[in-house]
Amino acid sequence: MWIHVDPSSGVPIYLQIVEQMRQAAATGLLASGEQLPSVRELALSLTVNPNTVARAYQELERDGVIAVVRGVGTFVSDSPPKLSEKERYDRIFKGAKQLAAQAYSLRFSAGEFTKTVRDAAREVYQSELQENSGEIDA
């Protein structure tokens, strides 16, 4: 399994799984429609508690990264997240604010900070940008 958990990290194991799967789905390492191991299979292959994997899957399902088809299996999904507009916004705003605070304490100017965010966005949104041959708005 390409997922790696580090039990000695301060980040809960379920969040480590969520982040790695989210990342994998975003970069195309996981293709949409691809079947994922069951909760039990993944728990055993990582030697972690099945409740931990179940919690990760719940979170990923709520965010629209995976879809569970009862009695069939778990699949990578490209459906929109099951979050309200506000929840969606708040989630990203919270992370952005923390990041901004970190940039501020490293003495980034506002301009440097937004440029860095644009650079990062360009890497993550690469494929979409190629399709539209567009640029990211400032």
Binding site: P7, P12, L44, N49, K97
Partner: protein, 302 residues
């Protein structure tokens, strides 16, 4: 059919005194049914004494305990029939062979699962004809695990279970527990001072120091909640900010602060960052850090 009890183990004021020393001191322990509960604590914290009281092997000095609904003082037979137990010091009959002890134990348990026995005797490569006394320490532990799992008990109690196992052996051991227990509703109570093993498989953690239970929480909640914030402010922060709920302790060294948090970390951070600062950083704590927070300063959390 397993009953829908909320807690597999529930104790109230459980105390054991040896001479004048309180080995276990007013323990209020609740182990949720179906959980894998890691009971952590330094050597001599009272883990083994607690386990022995739960199995009716040691009589409590005061307090009460129910295991699977049975009273440890009056119904210990009932309890032992339903519990698989791997003790810290292996107390198996050394003169028996591996095969003999397996068939001897099998007769005591109506729900014994022969396929579990066979699977793990093979996997651990235990020689059925060898005497128990001639097994290595690790093999005795592996045999002990089979004796605890194969009866398909409602509760599995493992006291310092990975003694004598190498890293591969430990991984196989934990795999076997997850494989057999997950989805069955069985409860596992596992004592250990080896934190990383517990960190992988346990979904609940209890920390016991000097006979007292200092905390008991779901593993994820513990890791999400327990943080250390390192901060340096450009101005003196208002004192009331350190009264926010979730802040356990604040250490100050000049303009540098270390703020120990057990909950509510996002809100605390937002508030701290509104004060002009040089840095406000969060440090994630792993189980060992949290353990040291509590056990390291003599068992007082603040």
């Amino acid at each position: 059919m397993r009953s829908m009890r909320e807690y597999a183990i529930e104790t109230e004021g459980l105390t054991k005194t040896y001479d004048d020393v309180k080995a276990v001191d007013g323990l209020k322990l609740q182990v949720p049914a179906g959980s894998i509960f890691g009971l952590l604590g330094p050597n001599g914290a009272g883990k083994t004494t607690t386990i022995k009281m739960l199995l009716g092997l040691v009589a409590p000095t005061s307090g009460s305990a129910r295991v699977l609904g049975f009273d440890v003082r009056t119904q210990s037979e009932e309890i032992r029939r339903r519990v698989g137990y791997l003790s810290e010091t292996s107390s198996m009959y050394g003169y028996m062979s591996v095969g003999e002890i397996l068939s001897f134990t099998k007769r005591l348990y109506p729900r014994w699962d022969k396929s579990v026995e066979d699977k793990y005797v093979d996997m651990f490569r235990l020689p059925r004809t060898r005497r128990v006394s001639a097994l290595s320490r690790g093999m005795k532990t592996q045999l002990g695990l089979i004796l605890a799992l194969a009866p398909c008990p409602d509760l599995i109690v493992l006291d310092e279970p990975t003694n004598g196992l190498d890293p591969v052996g430990i991984r196989d051991f934990l795999q076997a527990i997850l494989q057999e227990v997950s989805g069955t509703g069985q409860t596992v109570l596992m004592s250990s001072h080896m934190l990383y093993q517990v960190e992988r498989v346990a979904d609940w953690v209890g920390l016991i120091v000097r006979g007292r239970l200092l905390l008991s929480r779901p593993m994820d909640q513990l890791k999400l909640g327990q943080k250390k914030i390192q901060a340096a402010f450009q101005v003196n922060p208002p004192e009331r900010i350190f009264q926010m709920p979730g802040i356990e302790r604040v250490n100050r060294d000049g303009r540098r602060y270390v703020i120990h948090v057990s909950d509510n970390v996002d809100e605390i951070l937002m508030n701290l960052r509104e004060i002009p600062h040089f840095a406000v950083d969060v440090v994630d704590l792993n189980l060992e850090d949290i353990f040291m927070e509590y056990a390291g300063n003599g068992g007082t959390p603040s």
